[in-house]
Symmetry: C2
Subunit: 438 residues, 2 copies
């Protein structure tokens, strides 16, 4: 090859790229999430990564808009999707007549945000979303199915020590309604959202600075201090005896959600009512969820979402209430790896590596075919290398079994099966090998 100018091969910071053993694990998690979502009957959806800026940014603004990758191609203003919710809204409005409601869909795909680079923050990352969209109305029971999906998903991912926090925005809104401070709701919610980080005294101070009198701050504190079991919390919320209709509605919804969450057999260990969580301030209107890994709260919520009144108001007049959640898998994977919680067990896809010794590679092909016909992932080592190199390949990739084919094997039609973990060797027929592996 003529002399060429070489470029340093590199991957941009903020973009995840994995070595094979981690990629196998990542894909396994992705597949587990997909399979779990499908167990609940959700339909697959896939929207383009590139959309017209006008469509994608119909609602956006502020911080999000600054992070979006936008560019021109020809005379078109294009943007990369920054979440899977806006594309869902577009999709439902666009294909409304072709869809059956409630429309239950999942989408698993990459989204893009040009955030400031920092540890564990990615600019290209997977979201794994499910949403249930009603046509005009949507039963509150759907809000209880969501924690069941979170529960089953995280169980299937191998977690047991996690907690799904459930709240209802109408309860928070009802509190402000009751105290007649609804106009300050957004500011107050921002302050309450910081409770875990800054503590009650600091929250009260900030509320005071906002101009709230002591009576009202005390009421808020009393509300935020509600504790105990799930049932005790519901009793205490009832005992507040608020007159606000919106509060009553929220409490009724929360009570119904908790009843159904139990019917869905979500373990009491794995869910709580948390009256402080609010989520996206201008979006969610009812039930909201966050999920924490116990002992690792610092990594934040690993699965969040909630109920919204109207999915697609920027695209259609249709009234489309919905409820959904999202798992940020790229970030979760990063955190699990950092915390040493990734049980990476598999460095190869092949279960068997077939090696020839002193005979031609052609003698390996038939066996490889038969294994494949029996659904056993396998490969042939085909290079003209020394025996040591052949075994090194299988060793490095931790392929669990090696079949050795030599003169003796060809004559006896019994092949050496070596267990690469224990070192054990046996001479077996191909049929015996198949039943052994299966």
């Amino acid at each position: 090859m003529e002399e060429i100018k070489r470029v340093e091969p590199r991957t941009l910071s903020g973009f995840m790229e994995l070595l094979p053993q981690d990629q196998i694990k990542f894909n396994e998690m992705l597949q587990t999430i997909r399979k779990t979502y499908e167990l609940y009957g959700f339909l697959p959806q896939e929207t383009p990564i590139i959309e017209a800026s006008e469509v994608l940014l119909a609602k956006a603004g502020g911080e999000t808009e600054k992070q979006i990758y936008s560019f021109k191609k020809g005379d078109k203003d294009l943007s990369l999707r920054f979440d899977l919710t806006v594309p869902l809204a577009k999709y439902v409005a666009e294909y409304y007549n072709d869809l059956t409601f409630p429309y239950r869909r999942y989408q698993i795909g990459k989204v893009f945000r040009g955030e400031r680079a920092q540890k564990g923050r990615y600019r290209e990352f997977y979201q794994c979303d499910i949403d249930i969209i009603g046509d005009g109305k949507l039963s509150i029971i759907n809000d209880a199915e969501i924690p069941s999906i979170i529960y089953t998903t995280f169980k299937n991912l191998g977690f047991s020590n996690f907690v799904i926090k459930i709240n209802n925005r109408k309860i928070l809104n009802g509190l402000f309604d009751e105290l007649d401070i609804a106009e300050k709701m957004t500011d107050i919610l921002i302050i309450i959202d910081k409770l875990e980080k800054i503590g009650m005294e600091a929250v009260k101070e900030e509320l005071s600075k906002l101009g709230l009198d002591n009576d009202k701050i005390e009421k808020i504190e009393e509300f935020l201090n509600i504790s105990g079991t799930t049932d005790e919390k519901i009793v205490k919320l009832n005992e507040l005896n608020f007159n606000s209709e919106i509060f009553k509605k929220g409490l009724e919804e929360l009570t119904e959600v908790i009843k159904y969450v139990r019917l869905f057999k979500v373990d009491e260990e794995n869910f709580v009512i948390d009256l402080t969580i609010a989520r996206g301030l201008d979006y969610y209107t009812g039930t909201v969820y966050e999920t924490n890994l116990k002992g690792y709260e610092s990594i934040g919520s690993v699965c969040s979402g909630g109920r919204y009144e109207n999915l697609a108001g920027y695209y259609t007049k249709k009234d489309l209430p919905g409820v959904g959640i999202s798992i940020g898998l790229t970030r979760l994977f990063y955190n699990l790896k950092e915390l040493g919680l990734l049980a990476t067990k598999q460095k190869s896809i092949s279960k068997i590596d077939i090696i020839t010794m002193g005979v031609g590679v052609e003698n390996a092909v038939e066996i490889s075919n038969v294994l494949r016909d029996n659904n056993i992932p396998n490969e042939i080592y085909k290079e003209d290398s020394k025996t040591k190199a052949k075994f090194s390949y299988a060793n490095n990739l931790e392929i669990p079994y090696v079949i050795v084919i030599g003169e003796e094997e060809l004559q006896t039609k019994k092949y050496t099966l070596k267990n690469m973990v224990t070192g054990e060797q046996e001479m077996l027929t191909i049929n015996d090998i198949i039943s052994r592996i299966k």
Copy 2:
């Protein structure tokens, strides 16, 4: 909601977006390809969609470069990947020390090309690639494994009537070497590549215009006219008695590939030697492949690739020969749909829809749980609707079974299982339902 300016929800032309039943089929095909690649032990790979322009465009130029989506974010020049080969080259050069060679990987993902919009051409589309990369050398037997993978993949996708065309670039190069017209090789290959479209006479005319004398044109015609069975073609190639070393090497490689393709049990119906295919002129150096669906040659090759001498010369001094193929799934899917060849059978993921009649939805939850525990995708119809609407939902989504729960069912613990295709109804225990569905 306050009055808002609405945006017409739309999807850009050149971007595929499917309704659920097509998406189910698309995902099924994607999954079949993934599973087949894994049966051969290929490792998963996933590179970012966004790369530094400098890295991605190290080699690019001409037509491809014009199509690339490039943009600035901050002070960074970024580009969207336009194939999966350049990212593979970057990856292997970047992680060379962490990989085990031969490195066998697959990548399935979207790539982006701002092509002129036309029917069946997509700007965002899936490629499903496999490649085997050697460190310094790579056995020719790998070139024979590739048609086996193509064969198994298309068989698994449900095709039987397809043909894998196999050639070797060294045979073509050897012909030019033999005729001492190597300096005109590129021009001649471009002309030969048009043979199927324009016919032999037009090809000869163009060769003459290029300044080739009649003797040489006759030799080329003789070469291109080689026909018969695979074995007859190999005999005729040998009978040309060319002295060119490169020709001899090519013929030797092709002969070996054919021998192994047969060992891999690729049906004689499904492969041919086609001496006219050349593929990417400045890239492939040995075996090349194209795949056609018989009777639908107009849609072009549905799976192509070949052997290249050096994968990553723009990133590393290391000598990294490889062989690989790519399936352009988005385009294939479009064509199959247009041709009416898509057997779309499934409009739902759920196998069972659970409906309550005259009793509360809470009575459906336990059954849904049990079905899910038995790995049967199902859902509960939760909305407060009339019976007709409940059945319409299952009908529209063609969910194959409905379980009906009413007063009688609750008392007898036997539930009505309705087969939505045949209309048959039975009263069964939950265990009987599970065995019936499985």
